[in-house]
Each structure stands twice: as structure tokens, then as C-alpha cells.
């Protein structure tokens, strides 16, 4: 039976890791029609709790996190040991580096006091969430894994393999994202599953819930011969060979299979008590963490009066304060965006907006009929749109309702070929997708320096028709910077309704 349980656990881990990778790789339109990608991320109780704390709402779908809560009160941190794809990756890394860890098992794989750091992080981040920000997502394992793959590792693989054609998807800060991820994986060389034990706030949350677990590890003292072999394969660092810490146990059940005396069992109402759970924290550390969490938001908010003009949000996004509260920085939208327009913000959206998605027209444009970002967002920070509600591909000239507007394009006439250099060019007007076009050409005849008279069309923009898709900037032949640039001015999610009278709300 212990081998059966351990075997099943490996099947579960492999299954969910595969699901996770499938979700990452299958975010195409066809893939999204067939696979409920959002649902995987919505299992995360930390995301659900963060959204609940910061916006006092729980978008539909996040209730799935209750399943994980139920699993936790039944079996303890079984999510960590059986489901979490990041945990599985770290376990694989630990296994690969097992030869590098020396010394007696009970020393190498002991519980260390600094493992309590994850509870302090949970406290600080939780209070920051209550104050209205979603920065919890920076350390949430599913978000960390998804965005590290989406904007770090997968692009690196694509670059190495030379894939992507003429327009490869590149991501700002990819090196940093990948480096952090790989660095955390590297830590396994010294401590097995160090991320899970020392830093993971979801692990901390589930660890707190595990204190009421109905099923738990029980060591039969009479049968135990203190051989410490259970310490060899323990994933959680919960010291089954000493005083077992329920809130650290990943329920990997390796100890069951390894024990030569069959002294370890996993059973209902086992009397192993929780106070040995390793959450014992000195009060001053708790207060310190709480204060740090409480200070984060006001300090961030005091710095930024208003979001940067370059912080263009995906279409369907909530207003900025609600957006920053709900976005869990998972990077699913960045992964799903077909043109690579969505980028993880490093400085563009401010410190609070770190790793939230921003649209960078030079990297890609927002495809007019595409609504993928809203379809994958687990917290509805980006509301799911349909091509009709997005409104950029209407066939009728007077459509129903106003289209979603993410920004407005502004010409830099000093750089524009027809305006400044007497050279015909109509690219921006050609690619403008709105009907009628937001960019129109004003005919002009210009004399060049060599005396030739050229007929050309000079582009002008109608700010009420422009939706901010960025096609003009993306395709503008002038580069660094382009002769037409989109900023978020006039975005429709701003209650003030933009800068033109025509942009008023009905």
C-alpha cells in the first residue's frame, strides 16, 4: 500500500505538470476553445484569497479553490505534494541533485528555522492585499511558474531553436524572469524543495490549513528503530523521524514506503498534534511582517499620482485601481497574446505594477478580433470580451455601443515620412483596422530639395475613432521611436471619459 500511494502520487504530479505545460503551450484560439486554461489557475486558494481581500469580490471560477481547501482540511498539504506543478519541478530538481547533498539524512533534510519565513511573507502579502493590491501574485507559485515560462523560459527556448519567423515574440526582462526561476530551482542543490519550504506563501497558507487536517502522518514509536531512513526522501522537511510538523508535510508519503519497520502510517484522526507544526514565530517578527505589509501600499500609492502614459492595459481591463487589486501577475495573458504585444511590466506600470501586463506596440499589436487575454485571465482583471463587445471589427458603420478603447495614437510629425521628409508613405492608414478608419490622409503636394514635386497623403488621426490597437506604431517603418505612438490617453476604462468631448460616456 505505501508503494501504491507513492506511485499514485507520482502519477498525480506528472498529470498536473503535463496539464500545466499543456495549458502554457495550447493558448491558441483553438486550444482555448478546447481546454479550460483558466480553470487550472483558478484552483489556487492564494489567488482567490488575495482577490477577495483586495477587491471584496470573488469572480466566478475562483470558487474552484474551495476544492483545494477541502483537500487540505482532509489530507493536509496534499496540493503541494500531489498537484502543484512548481512543486513537481522543484522535486525533480532535488532528485537530480541528490548526489550533491552529503551527510546523514537527518541533518541534510532537517527542518530549519528559516523555513518560517514563508509565514511572515504570507502575513505581509496578505495585509498588502487587504490594503488593495495584488502583489501576492509575485510569490504565488502558479503565477510564478506561469509567468516564468511565458515570458522567460519558453521565449528562450524559441530563441535558441530559432523559431518565431520574422517576428519572434520577445519579452522585456526575460533574462531576469528566467534567472530568478532557475535560481530558485538551483537552491534545491542545498535544500530539498527550498522554495516550497522557505518561501512559498501558498505553502504557508495551506500549511496553516493543514493544522486541522483529518488525515495525517503518524509514527508508531514502538516500531520505530530510529534508523532515520525516512529523512532520506522526505519532501517537506517535516522531520517524521523527530517531532513531525504537520504544517510542513507535503503528504508525499515517501516516508511510508521507505520505513523498513512500517512504523509510519497516514491515517484518519492520527493523534499527531499541530503545535509541533513549525509555525511558532516570535511576536516581534509577526508584527514586523504585518507592518511591512501595511506600509507597502501607501508607500507605493504616494509615489505614483497617475499611471504612466505607456502603461496601456489589455482590452477589457478594469479601471487601474481595481486592476492592480485583481491582477495576480500570473502572465497567462502575456502567454496568450498572439503578437507578443502584452509584456510583463518591469518599470512601465510602476513598482506596484511589476509583472502586470502592459501593451507595447513596438513589440506587437492588439489583433482586432482577438480576445484571448480575457479568456485566460483567472481573476477577471481582464474581463472576457467577445469580438462584438470589443467592437474593433464591426461591419456596420454605426455600431452598437462604443468599442473598447485602450489608448490613442499620436503622430510625431517631425519623424513622419510624408510630413517631415516629403516621402510618400501610407502604412499607418493602410493597417488601421477601424471602420471608418481613424487615420485619414490629407492630400498635399510637396516640393523636395531636388526640385521634384511629390504628391502624398499626410496622415491625421481622429481621436474618437482610434481604439489604440497599436497597429500603426507596430508597422510604422520609422523606428526608435516610431513616427506614430500610442499612449493610454482616452482609454475607455477611465471613468473620466478621455480627452475629447466625443469620447464622453453616453
Amino acid at each position: 500500500m505505501p508503494e501504491l500511494l507513492r506511485g499514485l502520487r507520482r502519477v498525480y504530479q506528472g498529470y498536473f505538470l503535463l496539464l500545466f505545460l499543456a495549458a502554457l503551450l495550447l493558448m491558441s484560439d483553438e486550444g482555448l476553445r478546447r481546454l479550460p486554461v483558466r480553470r487550472l489557475l483558478q484552483l489556487d486558494p492564494l489567488s482567490a484569497a488575495s482577490v477577495l481581500a483586495s477587491s471584496w469580490l470573488l469572480p466566478a471560477g475562483l470558487a474552484a479553490a474551495l476544492i483545494v481547501v477541502a483537500v487540505t482540511v482532509l489530507f493536509g498539504r496534499a496540493f503541494c505534494g500531489w498537484i502543484c506543478p512548481l512543486g513537481t519541478l522543484h522535486q525533480i530538481a532535488s532528485w537530480l541533485t541528490r548526489g550533491l547533498r552529503h551527510g546523514p539524512y537527518q541533518k541534510a533534510n532537517r527542518w530549519r528555522a528559516h523555513f518560517r519565513l514563508k509565514y511572515l511573507l504570507l502575513l505581509a502579502l496578505g495585509i498588502a492585499a487587504l490594503a488593495g493590491t495584488g502583489v501576492v501574485g509575485l510569490l504565488d507559485p502558479l503565477s510564478l511558474a506561469m509567468r516564468s515560462f511565458a515570458s522567460g523560459l519558453l521565449p528562450a527556448v524559441d530563441a535558441a531553436l530559432g523559431k518565431g519567423g520574422t517576428r519572434p515574440r520577445t519579452f522585456g526582462g526575460a533574462w531576469l524572469t528566467a534567472a530568478v526561476f532557475l535560481g530558485l530551482l538551483a537552491a534545491n542543490r542545498w535544500v530539498v524543495r527550498w522554495w516550497c519550504r522557505a518561501l512559498c506563501p501558498l505553502g504557508a497558507l495551506l500549511g496553516l490549513g493543514a493544522r486541522t487536517a483529518l488525515f495525517r502522518i503518524e509514527v508508531d514509536e514502538e516500531r520505530c528503530n530510529a534508523c532515520n531512513r525516512c529523512a532520506r526522501d522526505c519532501q517537506g522537511g517535516d522531520e517524521p523521524f523527530a517531532k513531525h510538523r504537520v504544517s510542513e508535510c507535503h503528504v508525499c508519503l515517501n516516508c511510508l514506503a521507505t520505513c523498513p519497520e512500517e512504523a509510519i502510517r497516514f491515517r484518519l484522526f492520527a493523534p499527531t498534534s499541530a503545535p509541533a507544526g513549525g509555525v511558532d514565530l516570535p511576536r516581534r517578527q509577526l508584527i514586523g511582517a504585518a507592518l511591512a505589509g501595511a506600509a507597502v501600499v501607501p508607500l507605493l500609492r504616494a509615489t505614483t499620482a497617475e499611471a504612466s502614459p505607456e502603461a496601456i492595459r489589455p482590452p477589457g481591463s478594469l479601471a487601474e485601481d481595481a486592476f492592480l487589486a485583481r491582477c495576480v501577475r500570473c502572465g497567462a495573458c502575456v502567454n496568450a497574446c498572439p503578437t507578443g504585444a502584452l509584456q510583463p511590466s518591469l518599470t512601465t506600470a510602476g513598482l506596484e505594477g511589476l509583472y502586470t501586463p502592459v501593451l507595447v506596440p513596438r513589440r506587437g499589436w492588439c489583433e482586432p478580433s482577438c480576445t484571448r487575454c480575457g479568456q485566460v485571465c483567472p481573476t477577471a482583471a481582464i474581463a472576457p470580451l467577445t469580438p462584438e463587445t470589443k467592437g474593433w471589427t464591426r461591419t456596420a458603420s454605426t455600431g452598437a455601443g462604443r468599442p473598447v478603447k485602450i489608448g490613442t495614437a499620436f503622430f510625431d510629425w517631425g519623424r513622419c515620412l510624408p510630413w517631415a521628409m516629403a516621402t510618400p508613405c501610407v502604412v499607418c492608414e493602410e493597417v488601421c483596422p477601424t471602420s471608418p478608419k481613424a487615420i485619414t490622409l490629407e492630400p498635399a503636394e510637396v516640393a523636395r530639395a531636388d526640385g521634384r514635386v511629390v504628391r502624398l497623403g499626410r496622415p491625421r488621426i481622429d481621436p474618437d475613432l482610434c481604439v489604440g490597437c497599436g497597429l500603426c506604431e507596430a508597422k510604422c517603418p520609422v523606428a526608435a521611436p516610431a513616427a506614430v505612438r500610442v499612449t493610454r490617453a482616452g482609454e475607455s476604462r477611465d471613468a473620466r471619459g478621455g480627452f475629447t468631448l466625443g469620447g464622453r460616456l453616453p
Binding site: P45, A48, A49, V51, L52, S54, S55, W56, L57, L58, A60, L62, A63, A65, L66, V69, A70, T72, V73, L74, G132, G209, R211, T212, A213, L214, E218, D220, E222, R265, R267, L268, F269, P271, L318, A319, D321, A322, A325, A495, R496, G497, F499, T500, L501, G502, R504, L505, P506
Partner: protein, 325 residues
């Protein structure tokens, strides 16, 4: 041998598990049924018609001439039937001067403080329970209130001064040709009477800024956008706000470089105050003080076209009273 299951322990564990699961479920339920922290925009509320009953025996507009602003206000009001015709006992009155510019009274960019003060006094004498003086200025609110002299004069006369810096704005239904709704000072939706107290000035875009444009001071938000269709917008506002009375301060008229002005030689001393129930007539008379033909001012023409008043009542001869030396 495993120990037998301790019943008390089992119950405690079940209780704890139930608490965690139940608590999570309850939080989830609250999150599904609550309204959330980031409230959606409030819906626009209608603005009431502040006008008093028509009185055909009284003229739509009266002009007072003299050198004492307060006396002129009193004299003109008397011809119209006194403030008691407009303000009933116990009502709340919002007095809306032009108090938008960091200028002294001598520079003529804001309404003369004594004109405002006299209007306030008359309202209080007529029995108003509250008289509020408010404007959402272009320059810094506290400096404007002080340097214009209106804060001191109005408070001395018994008014409450509402600082736009601390005021709340709510969406109001304008229902106009251009403006459907806009954020306005919340007090506008609470007041019984609205007395518009503009000053006559030249304006580079709208030609004249007087009563119609003065309504912009009740707006919040990014109201600079109204300049994109200034004539239709100010008429929309006038049609929505429908003041009880218009008191036109023409003591000093800014004939150049309006609406901000600054130099004393941009001013012409006209030494008159006009009071009227017909906002269009008042506007037409004000245009004449700048030497403009009222029919050359697009907002005046549009206002008449929308039934807000008669240009002829202000363009032609207007009843006048003297107000002392």
C-alpha cells in the same frame, strides 16, 4: 499497534476542519454576492428647475446704475419684486459667482465681492435657511477665495463658503445636445434656488463670458473638453441648470484679454448691475457692454433657439434705475 481513535480528538479535528472549510465557503459566498470595493460609477441624477413662477407684470431684466455695487443690486431687485419673490422662507440657495481666478477685485476677473455679498444678504433677509457660495475655480481654490475678496465678503454677509477642493462631485443628467451627463458639485442637486452671479468679460473662444459660461464653474471632471464645442455646451448647461435669477456684475467690464485678464487697462468702468429672470436677455445685454451685437455671439443665438429666453429683451431698451450717486 496503532492507538485507537480518540473520540474527543476526532471531534476536535472535525470541528477545526469544518471551521476552515465553512469559513472559506462563507468568504467565497460573500465574495460572490457582494458589491466589491471599487464601486461602479453612480448613475446621473436630474437637476431641478430652479426658476420661480413667471410674473408678466415684472420686466425680464432691469439695469441699475451707480457707484455702490450693493446699492445697485438692491435697486434692481426692488424693480423685480424683491428677493422675496424668488427665495421663500427656509429654502437653500446656491449663489454661484465667478470666483475662478487668482485675481484681486480691482482686476475684474471675478465677480465684485460686494455684489456677491449683497445677493447673500438679500437671500438671508428673504428668509433663506442656508445660503451657499460656491465655485469650482480654475486656479487654486483657497487662494482664489481669499484674493478675490469674495470669501470674506460673503462670510460677513452670512453665507457658507464651499471650497471646491473639499467638495464632492456627482454625475448629473444634462440631457443636452452635446452633453448627456457630467460631474457637478453635489450641492447643486441639493439646493432649492440657484442664483447665477457672473461678471462680464471678453473671451477668446466664446467672444463673451457671462452667465451661460459661468455655469461651467459648477462642473468637475475634465471640463476643459467643453471648449471643443463651447457654444452648444454652455447652452446645454444653462438649459439643464435653469437658475432662479441672473445678477450680472458690470461694474468693471473686461473688454480685452479675457477671461483671465490682469492689466487694469483691459477694463472699462461701466458701473452697472443687471438683474433678470431671462438668462438670454441678460446675456444679450452683457454682450452690448462689450460692444458686441448679441446676434454675433453664437451661444446667445443658440440659447434663444432652444427656448431659454429672448435676445430682444436685452438687446433693445432695458428698464433702468439709478442707485444713488
Amino acid at each position: 499497534m496503532s492507538a485507537p481513535v480518540n473520540r474527543r480528538l476526532a471531534l476536535r479535528r472535525l470541528g477545526g476542519a469544518g471551521l476552515v472549510l465553512g469559513g472559506s465557503g462563507a468568504l467565497a459566498w460573500l465574495g460572490r454576492t457582494g458589491r466589491g470595493r471599487f464601486q461602479p460609477a453612480r448613475s446621473a441624477q436630474p437637476v431641478r428647475d430652479h426658476r420661480a413662477a413667471e410674473e408678466p407684470s415684472r420686466p425680464p431684466l432691469v439695469v441699475a446704475r451707480g457707484s455702490d455695487p450693493a446699492a445697485m443690486v438692491t435697486a434692481a431687485l426692488a424693480e423685480l419684486g424683491g428677493m422675496a419673490r424668488f427665495v421663500k422662507r427656509g429654502e437653500t440657495v446656491l449663489v454661484k459667482p465667478n470666483m475662478a481666478w487668482d485675481r484681486t477685485p480691482e482686476q475684474g476677473a471675478n465677480t465684485h465681492p460686494e455684489v456677491v455679498a449683497e445677493v447673500v444678504r438679500q437671500c438671508r433677509t428673504a428668509g433663506a435657511a442656508r445660503v451657499i457660495v460656491a465655485d469650482n475655480p480654475v486656479h487654486d481654490a483657497s487662494r482664489v477665495a481669499a484674493r478675490s475678496g469674495i470669501a470674506a465678503a460673503a462670510s460677513a454677509a452670512g453665507a457658507e463658503l464651499l471650497s471646491a477642493a473639499a467638495a464632492s462631485f456627482v454625475p448629473a443628467a444634462i440631457g443636452g445636445v452635446v452633453l448627456a451627463s457630467w460631474d457637478v458639485l453635489a450641492v447643486l442637486l441639493l439646493t432649492d434656488r440657484l442664483i447665477n452671479v457672473p461678471v462680464v468679460k471678453h473671451h477668446s473662444l466664446s467672444r463673451l463670458t457671462c452667465g451661460l459660461k459661468n455655469h461651467m464653474g459648477l462642473l468637475g471632471g475634465s471640463r476643459g473638453r467643453l471648449h471643443q464645442e463651447i457654444h452648444a455646451c454652455v447652452v446645454d448647461l444653462a438649459a439643464a441648470f435653469r437658475p432662479t435669477l441672473t445678477v450680472v456684475d458690470a461694474t468693471r467690464v473686461m473688454v480685452r484679454n479675457g477671461p483671465t485678464g490682469g492689466r487694469l487697462d483691459d477694463l472699462k468702468m461701466v458701473n452697472a448691475v443687471a438683474v433678470g429672470t431671462d438668462a438670454v436677455a441678460c446675456e444679450a445685454w452683457a454682450a452690448r457692454q462689450l460692444g458686441l451685437d448679441p446676434y454675433d455671439v453664437p451661444s446667445v443665438v443658440q440659447a434663444e433657439g432652444r427656448g431659454l429666453g429672448r435676445v430682444a429683451a436685452g438687446a433693445g431698451p432695458v428698464p433702468e434705475v439709478g442707485a444713488g450717486a
